[in-house]
């Protein structure tokens, strides 16, 4: 299991420095106050001792000689739109499993404070995107991922979570998958060795005139057997849900725009 996740104790003599992806967090305990600051950028000139001069400190009163800080992986409150870079074509009645990797968020928790969650930060700045049409839809983050058909571990990508997705085409026509929506609020996050995994998401496409079916499978056999729960789903799925989850070539938002 990665040493980042779990408890970190800081005191007047021991500070905290964490780097994960583009995110760096500095933590100190000074004069009975927990001080935290962070930087999310691809800059290379930084020091573990001293944050950038532009960094803004946040502080919490804590009358204790030591502060316990717990770091846990998390997902944002918004869904993620996965762009598999190359469009996928899935014939009728076929099914496939892909393994997109998505950046994880970091939740900094102090059990000594109330509310306990001090910060929740992305490990990479993602751009906003819209999943839906011009009159309704969801604000999401955009993630570009190769979405391989076999899981591939990269030791440098410690901030990435493997999010397996099974897509079944139960319609009677070819499914052209341009993008799909991953509702990460429904997913648990697991640790397995140095890797992070989520539950398996299962999207069932039943035709362009019908909503897709969305399900979460926690006991999937494609997940590592030695996984341990690091974070539970923010908004666990109580029953199978339906909704738009797959964007095909036809209904790409942006097509059909005219300027008067």
């Amino acid at each position: 299991m990665s040493t980042i996740w779990g408890n970190h104790t800081i005191n007047e003599n021991r500070s905290l420095f964490i780097q994960l992806g583009d995110l760096r967090i500095w933590g100190r305990l000074v004069d009975a106050e927990v001080l935290l600051t962070y930087d999310i950028s691809q800059t290379v000139g930084y020091s573990a001792d001293e944050p950038p001069s532009k960094a803004i400190w946040q502080r919490w009163r804590l009358d204790a000689p030591e502060a316990e800080l717990t770091l846990a992986p998390a997902f944002p409150a918004r869904p993620l739109v996965i762009d598999p870079q190359t469009a996928l074509r899935l014939p009728a009645t076929e099914s496939l499993v892909i393994y997109p990797k998505v950046p994880v968020w970091v939740r900094v928790i102090s059990p000594q404070l109330d509310p306990a969650t001090l910060l929740e930060l992305p490990t990479r700045i993602l751009s906003n995107t819209w999943f839906g049409d011009f009159t309704s839809g969801d604000l999401c983050y955009h993630v570009s991922s190769k979405a391989r058909s076999t899981p591939k571990n990269d030791p440098d990508e410690t901030n990435m979570v493997m999010a397996p997705v099974r897509i079944s085409n139960e319609s009677d026509s070819m499914l052209n998958i341009d993008k799909f929506c991953l509702r990460v609020g429904l997913l648990n996050i697991y640790g397995s060795g140095n890797e992070l995994w989520t539950d398996e998401s299962w999207l069932v496409f039943r035709g362009s005139n019908s909503d897709s079916q969305y399900d979460v499978i926690s006991e999937s056999n494609i997940l590592p057997g030695d996984r341990q729960v690091l974070a539970t789903a923010k908004d666990p799925l109580k029953k199978r849900t339906t909704g738009k989850s797959i964007a095909t070539f036809k209904d790409l938002p942006g097509v059909g725009i005219s300027i008067s």
């Binding site: 906003n128 999943f131 725009i257 300027i259």
Partner: protein, 287 residues
């Protein structure tokens, strides 16, 4: 002193027992009734707030408030000895009389009912009526109240709204910000397009999908004109507008892309160079 008259005096007036009972009953009606009505209004707000829109919540509140106040008024009038039959008869005659004089109000009320039914906008929407843009504060039977962005309170009669074109700016969750951009004729359009798309990608408020649009608008007098359309969440519209212009200017400067100002070139013919201009210092004695 008569035994039926109570010896109490209030401000010098002699009060009969019957009158004291009447005042007590009225006081009880008001003391119990008014807090009850306002409690019911608060309860209605609490119950409807999470289930209905702000507009519908306000309608329910007003319905409860005015119904309660009307019932209280009728109760007090009855205690004072007014007969409701004669009051309503008088009100009918009075109503006919003022009906002729209040056609505008009636028109506003009917327009208000249409507005409430049709729902072209709701409370907290941002609308433009004529030259006025603001946030809708309330949709009432007679008028719509708005707050403009420079914090003016505007009342627009419902009849005006029914007759006028109303633009609801915040009806849909996303909006497009269209910018007119001109670049010098010498610039490579393909490169300008790439730079603009990169600026959009870097801006955190600009939506990745729907994709930004770059449309050539024409050959202007001084520049190649294009429209740069960016999609944004409605709540981020002003933030994007503020940031993107700065980013375009800074990036164009860094990339050496010229944003031309209006200018006129004089030529002596289609194949000649522009007329040379030589600046001559003024001679001595010239004014």
């Amino acid at each position: 002193m008569d035994s039926t008259v109570v010896s109490n005096t209030v401000s010098g007036f002699m009060l009969s027992e019957e009158r004291i009972y009447m005042i007590t009953r009225i006081a009880l009606i008001l003391v119990i009734g008014l807090p009850l009505v306002f409690s019911l209004v608060r309860l209605t707000r609490r119950v409807t707030r999470n289930r209905f829109t702000a507009q519908q919540t306000m309608l329910f509140e007003k319905l409860v408030r005015y119904s309660g106040l009307i019932i209280l008024t009728i109760s007090v009038l009855r205690e004072l000895g007014f007969h409701m039959g004669s009051l309503l008869g008088a009100a009918g005659i009075f109503g006919i009389a003022i009906g002729f004089a209040s056609q505008t109000s009636v028109s506003n009320i009917i327009s208000g009912l249409f507005l409430i039914g049709e729902k072209p906008f709701e409370i907290n929407d941002i609308i433009t009526v004529g030259s006025t843009t603001g946030v809708v504060l309330s949709v009432d039977l007679l008028s719509v109240k708005m707050r403009t962005f420079d914090n003016k309170y505007i009342r627009i009669p419902n009849e005006t709204l029914i007759k006028t074109e109303v633009t609801n700016i915040t009806r849909f969750p996303i909006r497009r910000l269209d910018m007119n951009i001109g670049v010098a004729y010498k610039e490579d359009i393909g490169r300008v397009r790439e730079v603009l798309m990169d600026i959009a990608r870097q801006n955190p408020y600009c939506l990745n999908e729907p994709e930004p649009l770059i449309i050539m608008a024409g050959f202007g007098n001084s520049s190649l004109d294009m429209i740069f359309g960016l999609w944004v969440l409605k709540s981020d519209f002003l933030t994007l507008k503020n940031s993107i212009f700065e980013e375009i200017k800074a990036r164009f400067d860094a990339e050496g892309i010229e944003i031309p100002f209006p200018h006129i070139s004089f030529y002596t013919g289609s194949v000649t160079e522009p007329l040379p201009i030589k600046m001559v210092p003024p001679e001595e004695g010239d004014a």
